[in-house]
């Protein structure tokens, strides 16, 4: 159910739940909260299901962790929260927790009859947002919605903060976008939250540091430029300022680059972490070049691998990238991991997610000590620290996760993935690959996460100088730590080549690998995006750097609800357009955006009304602007939500063309859940 849906949108629910009237009414929140409960004990499962139903939640139950994961992967935005038992025969509950955190970034509540302190602590350190002692009482379940709200709130906040500070002239637009974005973000639970966000935005508007900046959309091309710049400088020396100079992209700010760099580093780290494990690529990890950036180099390797693994990136190119990316590691050109391993690493569906997570982990690691993920040296994430972090907010961690998990899941991952993978020439290929694999790429999540993570990381992480609205990002770093924890357990995750018991991030990556397939399958569904995707690329090329995109906030509307990611993106883009409303608002904002892109392209080709082009251009710009951090798939590719059926896009496009006149914004971004964009 999509309870946050926007106006009357019948969300095409990605989740299995049927549309429920409660979905539409925000006031009924938390009714309709989509819960996935996992427990191998049938008695408990039956009782929990009944209790949750009594709370008016939408319940899906399963008795195996693997089943739960596949359900989640298939329905990226189909759930708002997961409740899982700790002791399960097929998979440790904490592992599941990590997986979910990494891939979907959903709040997870652990349960157990075991109330021992250490177990509860483990839950905290692994990133569980709560821990219930069995037997569970219904009263305990009544309030689980708070975790959903909290997580989203943090994510949203993270996004905002990760946005770079824009110049003043952007302010007006930003505020406009901010409004949209806030509402967009709120989408799911509009109600008070929306209002609050609006208020916050207003307040923040004056505060440049926390202003919502239009998010930069890291398109494939842009990312390629970025990676090229980074490689040119050498990963060790790649500082945002220099990267920015090398990239020479008008409108791109140092903060944008910084946050993106952060994510990229995490990503690489993740990759190298895996590869290291495989191939003893220790140096990069261990050398603390600088606490924060140390692991980054390894991350490069990781990212590359991850990318390769995900299959998005041809292995050769991957190797190349890896070589390029791994500035520090001596084994530059080697992709230590076998392809298989690489795949494993990155196979999860949301490469972005991984990416982001990697970043987080990296950051976390940095903070703690050298990230020896790859070395298998346990990172000492002090539990209490984690605990505090965890409470702190699932911020970045969540954010990233969520970003990935939310709407971005499909589309955005792709784009991000692409971005990451494309640093080298492969970029295009990746893009194409992505496109063609669009069905496969729900992984867009990975990307967004990356961006998010980076952004967040940048802000909060010590290493990155640019603190994009840093202040608020402390939680982010914290979040990362929490995020990191889950990763630790990921070591057991399938395909986890490195036995990093304690390397939070890495393990998660491994597990992610498995997800890849899932993602792919998901993407398959979307199928027809390729053309649009490609077109989009072209389009974006036409408008290279219109970094004026304002609607930063929007993109992050991670509606967990169906194809929320896309919605978010779309929404954000739509928002950008302002109310040009061309896009038939609704949650399918991403779809709309993509459509807009299409239309823009089309229009250009057809030489249609100027204003249409204008709008489209704006849209494109907006999309481009969408900050990578915030948006899951800032890259153009992402705009094509996998979930969104082609028809949605077409519908939006058609609508757009038909009536350039601003349509009322149907999508009140409240409900990103509204996935259905009328075709």
């Amino acid at each position: 159910m999509k309870f946050s849906c926007g106006r009357g949108a019948m969300s095409i629910t990605s989740s299995s739940a049927a549309w429920k009237p409660t979905d539409v009414v925000a006031d009924q929140f938390p009714a309709g909260l989509r819960v996935l409960v996992v427990d191998d004990d049938p008695t408990c499962l039956m009782i929990l299901e009944k209790m949750l139903r009594t709370c008016l939640y939408e319940v899906t139950k399963c008795n195996r962790a693997e089943t739960a994961l596949s359900i989640l992967r298939e329905n990226k935005n189909g759930f708002d929260i997961v409740i899982s038992d700790v002791h399960m025969p097929d998979m440790d509950g904490f592992k599941l927790l990590e997986h979910i955190g990494l891939e979907m970034d959903l709040p997870v509540i652990m349960m157990s009859a075991d109330d021992g302190k250490h177990v509860v602590m483990k839950g905290v350190t692994h990133g569980a947002c709560d821990y219930l002692i069995k037997p569970v009482r219904i009263e305990a379940l009544k309030n689980i919605w708070q975790h959903v709200v909290r997580k989203r709130k943090n994510e949203w906040k993270d996004f905002e903060q990760s946005g770079s500070v824009e110049e003043g002239d952007r302010q007006p637009k930003q505020s406009e976008d901010a409004d949209y974005s806030s509402s967009a973000n709120e989408g799911n639970w509009r109600g008070s939250k929306k209002r609050k966000d609006d208020e916050e935005e207003t307040d923040e508007r004056d505060d440049t540091s926390t202003l919502k900046k239009p998010r930069v959309v890291w398109s494939v091309e842009l990312h390629q430029q970025f990676v090229a710049a980074v490689n040119q400088l050498g990963i060790d020396k790649a500082v945002p300022k220099k990267i920015l100079e090398l990239m020479n992209v008008p409108g791109l700010t140092r903060e944008n680059v910084a946050s993106h760099l952060q994510k990229y580093r995490l990503y690489l780290r993740r990759l190298s972490g895996v590869s290291q494990h495989q191939s003893n690529l220790n140096p990069p990890f261990i050398s603390p070049q600088d606490s924060t950036f140390g692991p980054l180099s390894s991350l490069n390797g990781l990212d590359l691998q991850a990318l390769a693994a995900t299959g998005q990136l041809p292995t050769q190119s991957f190797a190349r990238l890896q070589a390029a990316g791994l500035g520090r590691p001596t084994a530059k050109s080697s992709i230590p991991m076998t392809l298989v391993d690489q795949r494993n690493i990155f196979s999860f569906e949301n490469p972005k997610l991984r990416f982001g997570e990697g970043q987080q982990q990296q950051q976390h690691m940095n903070n703690k000590q050298q990230i020896n993920l790859l070395n298998g040296i346990p990172t000492n994430m002090e539990p209490r620290q984690l605990a505090s972090l965890q409470h702190g907010g699932q911020s970045i961690g969540n954010m990233n996760m969520q970003v990935a998990s939310h709407g971005a899941q499909n589309n955005q991952n792709n784009s991000l993935l692409m971005q990451m993978g494309q640093p080298q020439s492969r970029g295009q290929i990746l893009g194409d690959t992505t496109v063609s694999h669009s069905p496969r790429r729900p992984s867009s999540m990975g990307q967004p996460i990356l961006s998010n993570g980076m952004a967040a990381n940048v802000a909060s992480r010590n290493g990155i100088p640019e603190t994009i609205g840093a202040t608020s990002y402390n939680p982010v770093s914290q979040a990362t730590s929490t995020l990191n924890f889950p990763m630790n357990h990921a070591s057991e995750l399938p395909g986890n080549s490195f036995p990093l018991g304690s390397t939070p991030g890495i393990s998660s990556f491994s597990s992610k690998g498995t997800f890849q397939e899932d993602v792919s399958s998901e993407i398959k569904g979307s199928g027809g995006f390729m053309p649009s995707y490609v077109k989009f690329n072209d389009l974006s090329q036409h408008k290279p750097q219109n970094w004026e995109l304002q609607n930063v906030g929007m993109t992050f509307n991670f509606p967990q609800h169906s194809s929320s990611l896309q919605s978010n993106l779309m929404q954000s883009v739509l928002v950008q357009q302002g109310s040009s409303g061309q896009m038939n608002g609704h949650n399918r904002s991403s779809a709309v955006v993509s459509r807009a892109m299409f239309s823009a392209g089309d229009i250009k080709e057809h030489g249609n009304a100027q204003n249409v082009n204008q709008h489209l251009n704006n849209l494109v710009d907006n999309i481009i602007r969408v900050k990578s951090e915030g948006v899951f798939d800032t890259s153009p590719g992402n705009l094509f939500p996998v979930h969104f059926g082609q028809e949605d896009l077409m519908g939006a496009l058609l609508k757009q063309q038909d009536s350039i006149a601003p349509t009322e914004n149907e999508f009140d971004f409240d409900g990103y859940s509204k996935d259905n964009i009328p075709v």
């Binding site: 191998d40 009782i47 075991d114 037997p135």
Partner: protein, 150 residues
């Protein structure tokens, strides 16, 4: 009219189960979940519990036949069993489970075996009592709203 006596009997049985410590508050939680949509919810859950937990009891029994005891395994089984039992409010059974786990943790095989025997007895007793209870419940018709034990 006829049902009144049955209901009264039902209430007496119920009260006794609580007073004698066979059931605890969690059972009331189940009762409160029962509604028109699921008028036999409690019985269904309890039936499911006994069916599923029988498997666990068997596992533990088999594990206790293998010497030396694998305390970790035993503890694991009992942990599951305990979780299940507590979820339906089986108070005495749960207490025995806890004790069993203590013995497991301290590696006391003798204690485990003794406790397990006791546990099986409580388990069997509870089963009988609840079966009788539900029999009356079915005859008594829809139950009234659960009331908490005093």
């Amino acid at each position: 009219m006829e049902r009144n006596p049955m209901r009264r009997q039902l209430q007496v049985m119920r009260k006794s189960l609580f007073d004698q410590g066979y059931l605890d508050e969690q059972f009331v939680q189940l009762e409160e979940l029962q509604d028109d949509a699921n008028p036999n919810f409690v019985e269904e859950v309890v039936t499911l519990y006994f069916r599923d937990s029988a498997r666990l009891i068997l596992n533990i029994e088999q594990a206790l036949e293998r010497k030396p005891f694998d305390f970790n395994k035993l503890d694991g089984y009992m942990h599951q069993f305990k979780g299940s039992s507590s979820s339906i409010g089986a108070k005495r059974v749960k207490a025995e489970s806890t004790l069993f786990r203590e013995y497991c943790k301290s590696g006391n095989g003798e204690g485990c075996m003794r406790t397990f025997q006791q546990l099986k007895k409580e388990y069997a007793t509870l089963r009988k009592k609840l079966e009788a209870y539900f029999q009356v419940a079915r005859q008594a018709g829809p139950m009234e709203t659960a009331c908490r034990p005093k």
